[in-house]
Structure formats: structure tokens, C-alpha cells
């Protein structure tokens, strides 16, 4: 029973936490690792000429090595620690985008994207006169690869998509997408892995995308730490994203030269404590095994989808459960998702209601919002029971005022 590893869930035995796609709960091992860093190794990394600072530096470096191995990047200095996926994607759009794109170029994003992989590209396109194209989805919420294929031309300079949809849970076929893009264009491939790394085995060097972004807090790690992985040749050629300490080599009155990777993109005091926490999260997930994590989620999602679909008035969105990670997105008749979430909350069931930072997707599904239950390693069938009971209760409450 994994629940015992998570102090918040132990402290709230009646809570049914079904919002891990927003942020996961944190196991003791992660909380202990962060505390341990502050108690035994806290100093500013890379700066002091004393043993404690060296200990902080070593802890930070070891964390990078461990996380890099976990996401399958052999060249660990190509893993940049950031605040999370959003900062990682903004870094690419700003640093690579502003340097390499010009008016008339085309950027492809998808209708499945989270705003964090949509808006930076849209705004970049607007400011430089590039064209933004939006790849459509199929009726069952998968990327329409025929649509993507038709959009790719020699003018296509960027293709941005997510590994796994946060709103529907759709697992996108990265290999097929990469092959298609490489065949038809020289576009940069940017993959939002915020919902990938927590749920699937990710091997950056095999995926063959150019940039891959992820967040620590959705994979049992702390908030405020995440990563951007990029090809060394691209990162070396890009200008820094933020300026300050640690990212410089020599600062002259008139010019400055940059530090090597990864430091060039890590201005200011690094978030060493949370990097150490993220490394502990990696250890935790590896102790379960990522294949087992996905199997567990898909088993719960299949069960939840089956039970919800059996309720009159429920619509479940997205492809079949075997093509989804731990997400069930649904609506119930004319009961607004926010009303549903409030009623479920009354029984300690935490779900997300809203547009899931995916307004372009909601428009295409022709809904203003959906209810989303998302599962992780600590969930079990009792959470599904509570979810279904809550939905039935909402039906009952709203059923009293039938049209």
C-alpha cells in the first residue's frame, strides 16, 4: 500500500486525492531528503572555498546525474534545472526562438497542448511575424497525424507538442511524430513532458526530440524544480535566458562571456535543495519501476472509465484507456464540472474542474470545462468507489430539479 509512504495522505485518511496531474503528493523520502540537505549540506553551491559549500555543490551535481539517468540523457550537462516545465518551454521559445526564427517562418503547435506549450509560441509568432499553425485532434482526442503531415513544409521551423495530454491523458506517439517531422522539414522538435516523465519510462536519447521539458512536482518531487533537456549543439549556440551570477565566465566592462553548460542557463543561486528532493523522487519512482507505475495507472483508469461510462449522462473524453496515462476527463449531463467538484469535495474527493490550461482543446470538445480525475501510485480502487459515489450524489442533488 503506497499510501503509507505519503505523510499528507496518512494524516488525512478520508481524503481521495485524484488531482495528481495538477501536482502529486510527496513521499517521506522526498521530504526527508530536502530536510537532510538543509541540515547537513546547506551552503551556496559553486561559490564557497570551504567544505560545506563543496558538499552543497556535490549534492546538486549528484542530483543532476541521477535525474539525467532517469530521463535517459547520457550527456548530463544537457539537463538544465529550471523552475519547471513552463520555465523550460519559455526558455526555448525565447532563447532559441528569438535567435533563429524570422517573419514568414511557421510554428506548429497542437490542439492538445497545455497553454505553457501554446502561448509562448503564439506570442513569439505574433511578435516576429511568424505563422502559428494548430494541429487538430481526432474525435477521440488523439493528435490527427494526417493534419500534422499536411502542415509540415520546408517553412516549418518548430513543432511543439506534448508527450501526454494533461487534459485527456492521451499518450502521443512521439516516435511517429518525430519520424514525420524529420521526413518533411528541418523543424526543431519541442516536447512538453510534464505528464510524460511522471508516468512513463522516458529515454531522451532514444526519443530523438530536440528539447524535452518536465516538472518535478508532478512526479513526487517538490514544487519549484524541473528540467529542460536539449541537444548540446543547440544549447551551446543559444544565448542565455537570464543573466546573473553563476552563468558568466568573464565580465568585462563592455562584454561578458558565458559559463559552460548547464550553468549558462542557470542564473543565480541554484535550487539545490529541491534538486536533491527531485533526485529522491527519482529513487522513489525507480523503487516501484516506471513500467509498474504506468500499469497501475492504466488499470485504475480502465476501471474508472468503465464505471463512469456505465452511469447515465456521463461522457468520458479521450481515447481508450490503454492509450491514456492516469487521467479520466468527463462531464455529467448539465451538471457543471465546478458543481460536481464542489459536491465531490464534500466527501473528500479532490478532482480538477475547469479548462485544464487547455482552452483551445475545450473549444474543440465544445465544452467550457470538464471534470478530471487523475491517478497516481498512491491511488487504489477505493478512490474510484468514492468518485463514483460522489458522482451519483451529484446526480441525485441535481435530479431533484429536473427540467
Amino acid at each position: 500500500m503506497r499510501r503509507a509512504d505519503f505523510p499528507l495522505l496518512v494524516g488525512m485518511p478520508d481524503l481521495h486525492y485524484l488531482d495528481s496531474a495538477a501536482t502529486s503528493q510527496k513521499p517521506s523520502a522526498v521530504l526527508d531528503a530536502i530536510r537532510d540537505f538543509y541540515v547537513t549540506a546547506n551552503a551556496n553551491p559553486h561559490r564557497g572555498a570551504y567544505a560545506l559549500s563543496v558538499a552543497a555543490t556535490d549534492a546538486y551535481d549528484e542530483a543532476r546525474g541521477k535525474v539525467a539517468r532517469f530521463v535517459g540523457v547520457a550527456d548530463k550537462d544537457c539537463l538544465i534545472f529550471t523552475r519547471g516545465t513552463t520555465e523550460s518551454l519559455n526558455l526555448v521559445a525565447t532563447s532559441w526562438g528569438r535567435t533563429n526564427l524570422k517573419a514568414g517562418d511557421e510554428i506548429v503547435v497542437t490542439a492538445l497542448d497545455h497553454h505553457a506549450n501554446f502561448v509562448p509560441w503564439q506570442q513569439l509568432a505574433l511578435s516576429i511575424g511568424a505563422t502559428l499553425r494548430v494541429c487538430e485532434i481526432t474525435a477521440d482526442g488523439r493528435l490527427d497525424l494526417d493534419c500534422l503531415s499536411g502542415m509540415l513544409t520546408p517553412k516549418t521551423r518548430v513543432v511543439a507538442f506534448n508527450h501526454v495530454s494533461n487534459a485527456l491523458g492521451t499518450i502521443n506517439p512521439v516516435g511517429d511524430i518525430v519520424a514525420l517531422v524529420r521526413e518533411r522539414s528541418d523543424a526543431l522538435i519541442v516536447c512538453d513532458g510534464a505528464q510524460g516523465v511522471p508516468h512513463l519510462r522516458v529515454d531522451y536519447d532514444i526519443l530523438d526530440v530536440d528539447f524535452y521539458a518536465f516538472s518535478g512536482h508532478k512526479m513526487c518531487g517538490p514544487m519549484g524544480i524541473g528540467g529542460l533537456i536539449g541537444r548540446r549543439s543547440l544549447l551551446d549556440a543559444m544565448p542565455p535566458y537570464q543573466m546573473g551570477g553563476d552563468m558568466v565566465e568573464f565580465v568585462h566592462d563592455d562584454i561578458t562571456t558565458w559559463n559552460t553548460l548547464p550553468h549558462k542557463f542557470e542564473a543565480g543561486t541554484p535550487n539545490a535543495a529541491d534538486a536533491v528532493g527531485l533526485a529522491a523522487a527519482v529513487d522513489y519512482l525507480e523503487s516501484i519501476g516506471m513500467d509498474a507505475v504506468l500499469r497501475h495507472e492504466q488499470k485504475l483508469v480502465a476501471k474508472a472509465s468503465e464505471r463512469l461510462s456505465g452511469i447515465d449522462g456521463i461522457t468520458v473524453y479521450g481515447p481508450r484507456p490503454s492509450e491514456r496515462s492516469g487521467v479520466v476527463s468527463f462531464t455529467l449531463e448539465d451538471v457543471h464540472p465546478h458543481d460536481l467538484a464542489t459536491i465531490l469535495d464534500g466527501d473528500g474527493v479532490c478532482i480538477r474542474a475547469g479548462n485544464h490550461c487547455a482552452q483551445p482543446l475545450m473549444r474543440r470538445l465544445d465544452v467550457s470545462a470538464t471534470a478530471r480525475a487523475s491517478f497516481y501510485v498512491y491511488n487504489d480502487t477505493s478512490d474510484i468507489d468514492a468518485l463514483v459515489d460522489g458522482v451519483m450524489k451529484a446526480k441525485e442533488i441535481f435530479g431533484h430539479a429536473a427540467v
Partner: protein, 150 residues
């Protein structure tokens, strides 16, 4: 908080009158000859409500609302139109301020007869995440009145 308390609060929130206004909204529609029309959106949930007002001197002689949203925002808009239609501006403004106090948790406002049936929404104050749903139409009305006085 005990689960039973929360359950009671949920029952108080989703009482029959609110669900009735949600299912059978009063004064819902568009208005061709409105003096002021204001559209308010809640980006969190995608809800949007339009409030359309016609004035006769200093009186709100007609108003209606349009749009879509959750039961709380729809019921609140529906009740608002019933409550302020035909009332002088000063009174409308007083009711609006009082309603706001009520959903922010002011118990005296929840007992204030000037709020009429809209007092059914007093339970919203126990749900901070839903207060903005209840205020959406009222904020649109406030903007409509402000636009008129400009």
C-alpha cells in the same frame, strides 16, 4: 472540519430554489434595445455571463442575462434580475453591495430582507472557490451601472 458539517453545507448550497433557477432561469435572453450590455468571463471555468440593462431615468426598467455557467453563477444571475428589475439606481446599488457582503460571509446581510430570495445563496460564503461564481453577474451589473454614469 467534520465530513458531516461539509455535507450539511453542500445541502445548504444546492437547495431546491437554486437548482430551480439554474434549470428554469428567469429573465434569460438577449436584449436588442439595451442601454448597457456587459460581458463578464471567468477564465478559470470558462463561464461567461452577459448582463443587459435598459434604464428609464434613474430606474432599471428592464434587464436580462445571457451566457452559460455553473448552477451558482446562473442562479445568482437569475435571482439578481428578479430582485433589481424596476428598482431605482440607488436601491439597486445598495442591494448589489449587500449581496456582495452576504457571499463574503456577513451574517446580517444573509438575514437582510432586501435581498429577497437571493438569500438562498448565502451558503456560498462557506465555499471560497465559488464566491466568484456567485458574483459574476453582479460584477457585470456593477460595470453596466458605472458605464452609464460615465
Amino acid at each position: 472540519m467534520q465530513p458531516s458539517d461539509r455535507s450539511a453545507q453542500i445541502s445548504a448550497l444546492y437547495q431546491e430554489m437554486i437548482l430551480d433557477h439554474y434549470r428554469r432561469p428567469r429573465n434569460k435572453g438577449e436584449m436588442d434595445n439595451a442601454d448597457e450590455s456587459v460581458l463578464m468571463k471567468n477564465p478559470l471555468c470558462g463561464d461567461e455571463i452577459g448582463v443587459h440593462v435598459r434604464f428609464d431615468g434613474d430606474v432599471v426598467c428592464d434587464l436580462c442575462f445571457s451566457g452559460r455557467g455553473c448552477s451558482i453563477s446562473q442562479a445568482s444571475a437569475s435571482m439578481m434580475t428578479q430582485l433589481v428589475k424596476g428598482k431605482p439606481l440607488a436601491e439597486v446599488e445598495a442591494i448589489r453591495a449587500r449581496f456582495r457582503e452576504m457571499v463574503m460571509g456577513d451574517a446580517t446581510a444573509a438575514a437582510d430582507s432586501s435581498l429577497g430570495s437571493a438569500r438562498a445563496l448565502s451558503g456560498v460564503s462557506k465555499f471560497p472557490a465559488r464566491v466568484k461564481c456567485a458574483l459574476l453577474a453582479w460584477n457585470a451589473l456593477e460595470t453596466a451601472l458605472a458605464n452609464r454614469s460615465e
